[in-house]
């Protein structure tokens, strides 16, 4: 029982994320068709990732505001760090997408790569800060 709990408390979350990073972001031979309006697959991927984060955050905020979900001050503070990171990345992706329309060969600017990396860091911190809720 203890080994099973350790596996699911510690090993699984990290291995899940690591393996999914490899599986989904690196090693796929099959990919979905380019989304309509996307200029490059990276443009499409950045947008899709931000759209998913955006939607999850909107759902969360709606539920907290309506009293549907009771959030602790610590949880809200951690979510706000993620929100700030997403708010930095979104306009950068929008600008990159617009720039691609006239120059499809453009590589993502360092600023955008850094912003997307910060979103991931903020999400990691969010998970770490809430680990203390585990019983």
């Amino acid at each position: 029982m203890q080994a099973k709990r350790f596996f699911y408390l510690v090993v699984l979350p990290f291995s899940l994320c690591f393996s999914l990073t490899l599986l989904v972001d690196g090693c796929q031979k099959k990919t979905a068709p380019l989304p309509k309006n996307a200029v490059t697959s990276l443009d499409g991927t950045f947008n899709a990732d931000l759209q998913a984060a955006h939607a999850a955050i909107v759902q969360y905020e709606t539920d907290v505001k309506a009293g549907v979900h009771k959030a602790t001050p610590e949880e809200k503070a951690a979510v706000n760090v993620l929100i700030r990171a997403v708010n930095v990345a979104q306009p950068l992706e929008i600008a990159y997408h617009q720039a691609l329309l006239s120059n499809p060969a453009l590589v993502p600017p360092a600023e955008l790569n850094a912003a997307m990396s910060n979103v991931q860091t903020a999400a990691t911190s969010l998970q770490s800060s809430l680990t203390g809720k585990a019983k």
Binding site: K4, A52, A134
Partner: protein
């Protein structure tokens, strides 16, 4: 970068994971969420998903959540966190699926902070 979404969504899971191995309904819920994250996002990203498959996974999530909500031995905060994690996951899945069909950056509007 897809893991960004997974990490954010799993933020509420630690409180649930703490119950893993203690309550069979919680076990089923955690496994269902992990399954949903693993299979749905992968399938959408590779273009191999079907509406039926996505609906099937989401149905399993709702069913396992319903069992947790009925289980009076589960801490109400755990039930609350479970339900919220699934609502957020479903919203993310729907948005991701749509974004992989059509890119519309105009919907990436600034988000207010949680008060």
């Amino acid at each position: 970068m897809l893991t960004t979404i997974l990490l954010a969504l799993s933020a509420l899971l630690p409180s649930i994971l703490g119950q893993f191995g203690v309550n069979s309904n919680i076990d089923k819920l955690v496994e269902a969420v992990i399954q949903a994250i693993g299979s749905i996002f992968t399938a959408i990203k590779t273009g191999t998903s079907t509406e039926g498959e996505i609906l099937s996974v989401l149905t399993i999530l709702q069913t396992t959540l319903a069992a947790v909500e009925k289980d009076t031995s589960v801490d109400p905060q755990i039930v609350d966190d479970s339900a919220e994690a699934i609502r957020d996951l479903q919203a993310a899945i729907a948005a991701y699926e749509q974004a992989m069909l059509v890119e519309d950056v105009s919907t990436l509007t600034p988000l207010p902070e949680v008060e």
